[in-house]
Symmetry: C2
Subunit: 447 residues, 2 copies
């Protein structure tokens, strides 16, 4: 089967990376990020366009300096469960922290979403970037980087163990034999690891896709290793074409080195396409969006996120970027390191770093529909991505992409013309994992 492109929608609500002033656009409802009907409409539009998934990001720490869409938003699983019953095919990927959750609770919630959606749940595992999150969970200090990633790995392993508590045929519900459950098909987990002790079993059966799909966003050494071990989807950092190629090849190589099929990890990059009637109009629009969003105070606050919500107000804006690398050890270490490396290399001032930090996710997909389709085809063929996590400024921009670009991708055989399945696994081309406790029929017959 030829490799095909996957598309997800990351609904921005009142803002998103590089579009933090989006709430000011008159076409954007001021309450979009807390309006379930906004998300239902987005999901339906994405499903109409045959997208693979709706992707919901998250964070659990704010202060008053944070951009609009951080300040006031719905919890991802509660949100996706509401969206589930209004859609039939589209995957529902929710972000949840392995640092500030318990495996039993979270495994159960994702399993519930998987049942409610008929097998469309995905879990984007994050370890929490904002160091301040710790203080919302009773800790004085954020767990350090290595601990967070070790915990994340064990968390996923425990969740998967819990998802296998029941074999697929555990519930004969046989009235004649008075047998609702076949007790031999229920398995305790009895996990005792470095970070978790979880006896199990889970009180929920396996869903149509066996287990929710696990996404990750590994950038650092630890993150890439975690992704290669357990992820089935990745929200990759993107960057230049060469950077994306390097990342893609590295993840596929690491995945194979762990004995896994590299086809079973789908790499998505972020894309905020700007589509217009002509290339020139699209580039003009892109410039407008950038200028409109270039708010210095807000950019400084965002920059501070990578350094534990650091307050830059005591620093001279036109002096060299201050030496605060040590503040990034616990939180967004990779993002902070790349900021500092660039500031040092290019001798940037604080003001310059703040300005450019805002633009770090500028899209390679800007232009008339055929230009954007060409760019996507080029990036796809160049081995940079299996899918794109698409974000649009407004419903009009989503429509321009869906009506203009998607048909071109379909004509070129890159993107589906109908859903192949009703589960997220099915549409992503991922196998349904066999329950670890289920013996092969042949073996059982031998026994």
């Amino acid at each position: 089967m030829p490799r095909t492109l996957h598309l997800a929608l990351h609904p921005y609500g009142v803002g998103g990376p590089g579009q933090h002033g989006l709430w000011k656009d008159p076409r954007v409802a001021k309450n979009a990020s807390i309006d379930v009907n906004y998300y239902i409409r987005q999901a339906k539009a994405a499903e109409h366009a045959l997208f693979d998934a709706l992707f919901i990001v998250d964070s659990q720490f704010i202060n008053a300096t944070y951009p609009a869409h951080y300040l006031n938003r719905l919890e991802p699983l509660t949100l996706l469960s509401a969206v589930a019953t209004h859609t039939r095919h589209i995957g529902l990927v929710g972000t949840a922290s392995s640092t500030y959750n318990s495996p039993f609770n979270l495994a159960r919630r994702f399993a519930s979403l998987d049942h409610i959606s008929g097998g469309r749940a995905g879990w984007n595992v994050v370890t929490s970037f904002d160091t301040g999150t710790a203080r919302n969970y009773g800790l004085d200090e954020h767990l350090d980087y290595a601990t967070r990633y070790a915990r994340a790995l064990e968390f996923v392993q425990v969740a998967r163990g819990l998802w296998d508590s029941y074999e697929d045929d555990a519930f004969p519900a046989d009235v004649e034999r008075n047998l609702f459950l076949d007790p031999s098909k229920l398995h305790e987990l009895r996990h005792e690891g470095e970070h978790f002790k979880v006896a199990g079993p889970l009180n929920l059966s396996r869903s149509p896709q066996g287990q929710p799909v696990v996404f990750q966003a590994g950038v650092s050494e630890e993150g890439r290793d975690l992704a290669a071990r357990v992820a089935e989807g990745i929200y990759a950092p993107g960057g230049s074409l060469e950077q994306a190629q390097e990342y893609y090849a590295d993840i596929k190589r690491r995945t194979a080195a762990h004995g896994r099929d590299p086809e079973h990890i789908k790499i998505f990059i972020h894309g905020s396409p700007v589509v217009a009637a002509t290339d020139e109009a699209a580039r003009r629009r892109e410039r407008e969006i950038f200028d409109e969003d270039n708010d210095l105070d807000r950019n400084l606050a965002l920059l501070g996120r990578s350094f534990g919500a650091y307050d830059f107000s005591g620093h001279d804006l036109d002096a060299p970027f201050p030496d605060i690398a040590h503040l990034a050890e616990k939180g967004g270490r990779t993002a902070a390191a790349s900021l500092i490396a660039r500031a040092t290399e290019e001798r940037l001032t604080l003001r310059q770093v703040a300005e450019s930090a805002n633009a770090f996710r500028r899209s390679p997909f800007v232009g008339a529909p055929d230009t954007v389709a060409d760019a996507i085809e080029h990036w796809f063929a160049a081995g940079t991505l299996d899918g794109i996590n698409l974000a649009f400024r407004t419903d009009d921009d989503l429509e321009l992409f869906v009506d203009g670009v998607v048909p071109l991708l379909q004509k070129r055989g890159l993107f589906r013309t109908a859903y192949a399945a009703d589960t997220l696994r099915g549409n992503l081309g991922l196998p349904v994992p066999a329950n670890r406790h289920t013996r092969e029929p042949a073996l059982a017959a031998d026994a």
Copy 2:
């Protein structure tokens, strides 16, 4: 305003208290407890009948001996969020443990449900009855009774503090002033208590009902005290009319003693009405249900729940009930104590206790429609309840009650003929709590 009756629906799925064999009824779908569409239908039927709320119970520990409806069920908030967008008026009360959750996470999930439902969320606070739950959350031992209740109180206080993070007018979203958030309306909690340290703020605004409604199910001294301090609704133990009167008066008295309006705590008892064309037919049906459900092995397993999933298989069924009171210290202490008291007093064998334990929630509401309406009116007038948490065996039984009994209650002025509000608070007659940080306009003018 005259006191009026409140009705909630507790959907049984494949089983419930006293009806553990329900899954065998040919009219019950074997997957009801994990089928979101079953719950959506139940919620719509209850809303059509003008009920106040849908009430979802929960537990987080099972083994293979547990009854069908424990073994395989959806997580309550994920479930209720899916139900929310298919209903408009009915309250959505979900059970969640204060022992095995973090306040930030849970407060956020209930606030999300409150937004998604437009102000219809309720939280039934439980401290977890099954001692085995501890082992699903990394603990060797269940927290003891006093610790669980002290933690529950602080948990609710923290959640309410987080729900007040934003004042109601915190988001001017004023484009002219470039002001999405008014920072003076965002408040950190900075809670440091015996059980929790939570800095806040929550990243979600207040919902139409200000805060989700807090339910509790206090039976013991600690439970009653917790309810009187913080609950706005109670799922009461019921029992005989005299027992229910004593409980009702005690809770109202304790609530007043804490300086609260006793009208602002609504006491629900459980009711499994059996309605038929004649009283005789209803009593016959009740007997059938009881006999059908009288499965000794299952009753022994249920009995064991009060003693840490104790396995009675080593005991002589016809010997006196064994001396295992010490096993109940950490878990369902009150339930176990009353079982043992009765076994001792009435010199019951293990078999007899197991049989009678199954029937502990037999309904006072059995008969022809007017008999049931009379009984409800009598119990209501006698000061035993503000509401009934109704459970029905099948959709037919729900219909018999809704079509037969509800119109009689309406004719007598006991039950509403139209919803008064779109929020759970509004329909229960509970006030919207003012945000603790919001100054009275008069005071602000003085300042």
